[in-house]
Assembly symmetry: C2
Homo-oligomer: 460 residues x 2
């Protein structure tokens, strides 16, 4: 659906509501796909949302709440009378209903749950953290027994409510509910009607325990191209099924988290436009303060070289250029390695190969920047005489420092994520600003040390 | 599959190959899922790969090549004799075969294509760029006609080769091949055998033209939770189908690109461990040099304030602290806004709301860092007397500059991605190092301007 069509519908909904014609507003909204309904709904003023939602039938409201962002859905649902909220929750997929209940005020969630018809499907899902296999799974799945025939499986499918989501795979469980096999829908259609399920099922089922982290769930589903992944409890019993559409969200969510961390902030965990101002400032201030406190060491480091700066102020002029080059090359290396680790391209045991690559990269990149730096100083000198008779020494100081600092930056940037993973922390914690800060302090020491050797007897 | 099981198989394969027992090596390898086979295969020495691949049956080789990274697959496939390569390509999905052919040396690709039995399915896929809907689609799909009965559709499915991938949806086309409807597999099973396809098909089909960018394809499939998306040519004729597993890769790929750009490098477009050293240095050096050249302006800017630095060397000591704070807050804001734009949370028309948020954030964060900076100077002064009698002026200079620079950093960081999108560029180009560099130069000017006002009559 094009953006302008959604905007057009939004306009019609608002006009209808202004003239008090709620049924026209609903008619306009429901021409859209639920995902687009959610976008239009979210753009309505709060008053209009409160007016419209209770007038929708339960199925439409359920589709809308499923597609809204978690926080928007909770805010909207909180406005519904309990009985109506229970009806809407009954229309949602059990896992979506469980997520929404978890975001509602506890008292309201308990009341709504008590009035739900399908609460028995939702209650087992409530105890699992959102970011685990248990939190992602739905209890709506189809378990067959090994001694059924394919014909009875088809009859069973025919008997299902048409609103039930289409299963991609059917799971086979034994008498204790333990998962023992999987059958594709198509295998059932294309086998003889009297064939037994156990004769067509695949016994090599990939499954994960309820407590598995969502990142691992996404990795497994993407690796094996699974449309649905069965989740088992401690005894191997089928507890639920994770559908692929959850995984698309997880992959996107995990990339967002990594990116926000690399950018030097805590993961927001909420959309930028929806998170409250103070929560956002809180998530951003933490790292900024830590970085600021660490960066204070640069003032201390420069303090050690105060006498050198007094004697050769020209040294101070290149400080930003020098340290930012270390920071930039470090950010680059860190980002490449963090992403390669997240994608499984770089593993812990590859550290030595990464280090060898980055030492070579650092030397090469440092030599490139160092040559440009030398050329810049020579050029300014010949044009304006900026740096006086000792300019070759100044140029050599800058060039040599750049090689050292860029090498040090790439090495720190590439090894820090690996080190963090090694000690069990998230590699993405070694954010671009964090690496830059680390490299700034050491970069200053490298620069002034090189200067004190090269410029001894001339400027110092 | 656990990593150590894959490693165990790898060990057995290598031992078998060392003793010249190729059939044992194959037996060990084929106990694994193709995705795991590919991982073990990629870890084999090149000699072993060359020895093993031609001995695999076509189906196993096809599964292996499909799961390898593009470059690894092309290197391995290039070792096969043409006739065998053609057999392996015939066993692959047409879209995977087309991708592999595109990565092979042109002469070898042409020879292999000429010997393929299924070349008619692959040739139409070859003309589309990799990152468009046409490049992602497969020509292996199932088109029904509106006047078929569900029973004849089931018979048609039963007649398919069992190796054919399971279709999630069946598409309905008219006499000209124009896409007019879609039917779920389950609707076919659960309808009466004599029902006509046109009576159960859904006429509201979401489809995209062949030229659509892969990012848009991923957005649409994720938004509408589609397992498969039909692709149509200019006349609305069904040209191919994109399956959801491609989308997981695209989402991951796009996030990788954004991340690498934000880290201040060009997108590598190849896995970190596989890209050649010089290609990688090339992709990294470009931005580093641009940043370095821009950062040279800091030396020029500081040159303007050389006299001030000579008179008050203490000013130079805080330069790294001050400019890095601007860079860090800018990187943070840029990353948050870039990701929010990629996720569709922030649109161009939201620029004013983003700016309002960031002005407030910048002032708050600047005030926090400014207070800490003031406290640090006061503390050092009372402990060591570091800054002399004028310390309150120095502290005030640092604190006020921090407020200004952090505000300027967040504002630049947040507005630059929006501006880039507005003029049709990729917002992720405003990388963390790029924003930091921009803010460094202006940060110095802010800092020394504040200093020249606050310190006039005391230190300056």
């Amino acid at each position: 659906m094009e953006q302008k069509e959604i905007d057009g519908v939004l306009e019609r909904v608002r006009t209808a509501l202004e003239t008090g014609n709620v049924s026209n507003a609903i008619a306009a909204l429901t021409t859209l796909h639920p995902a687009d309904q959610a976008e239009a709904f979210a753009d309505l003023p709060a008053d209009d949302q409160v007016e419209l939602l209770p007038q929708l039938d339960s199925e439409t409201a359920a589709g809308l709440l499923t597609e809204l962002e978690d926080e928007e859905a909770a805010d909207a649902a909180a406005q519904l009378p309990t009985a109506q909220l229970a009806d809407v929750l009954d229309e949602m997929e059990p896992d979506e209903a469980a997520d929404l209940l978890g975001d509602l005020p506890p008292a309201q969630a308990a009341d709504a749950l008590a009035q739900m018809e399908e609460r028995d499907e939702v209650i087992p899902l409530l105890g699992h953290p959102d970011d685990t296999a248990g939190g992602l799974m739905t209890s709506e799945f189809f378990a067959l027994r090994p001694h059924m025939t394919t014909q009875s499986a088809i009859d069973f499918l025919r008997g299902l409510n048409r609103d039930t989501a289409t299963p991609y795979y059917l799971y086979v469980v034994d008498r204790q509910g333990v998962l023992i096999g999987i059958v594709g829908l198509r295998d059932i259609i294309t086998s003889r009607p009297e064939a037994l399920i156990e004769s067509i099922m695949n016994r090599e089922v990939i499954s994960l325990p309820v407590g598995t982290d969502q990142e691992e769930v996404a990795r497994v589903m993407a690796r094996y191209d699974l449309l649905a992944l069965p989740v088992v409890d401690g005894a191997g019993r089928l507890a639920g099924v994770i559908n692929y559409d959850n995984i698309v969200d997880v992959i996107s969510e995990e990339a967002t988290e990594d990116l926000q961390k690399i950018g030097g902030s805590e993961a927001l965990d909420e959309p930028y436009m929806l998170i409250s101002f103070w929560r956002m400032v809180h998530k951003r201030a933490g790292w900024l303060v830590v970085l600021f406190l660490s960066e204070m060491l640069t003032a201390t480091a420069m303090g050690f070289f105060e006498q050198e700066i007094k004697r050769a102020v020209v040294l101070a002029l290149f400080v930003p250029l020098i340290i930012s080059s270390g920071g930039n090359s470090g950010s680059q290396a860190a980002t490449l390695v963090i992403r390669a680790m997240a994608l499984g391209e770089v593993r812990l045991r590859d550290w030595w190969r990464v280090m060898r690559r980055e030492v070579l990269s650092g030397l090469t990149l440092g030599a490139i920047l160092g040559s440009i730096g030398f050329a810049r100083i020579a050029l300014w000198q010949s044009a304006f005489g900026t740096y006086g008779p000792y300019w070759p020494f100044i140029a050599a100081t800058v060039a040599l420092s750049l090689v050292g600092i860029v090498l040090w930056g790439t090495l720190t940037g590439s090894m820090l994520p690996i080190l963090l993973r090694r000690v069990g922390l998230d590699p993405a914690t070694s954010s671009a600003p964090f690496v830059a800060t680390l490299v700034d302090v050491t970069g200053l020491i490298i620069y002034f040390s090189v200067a004190s050797v090269v410029l001894r007897g001339s400027l110092l």
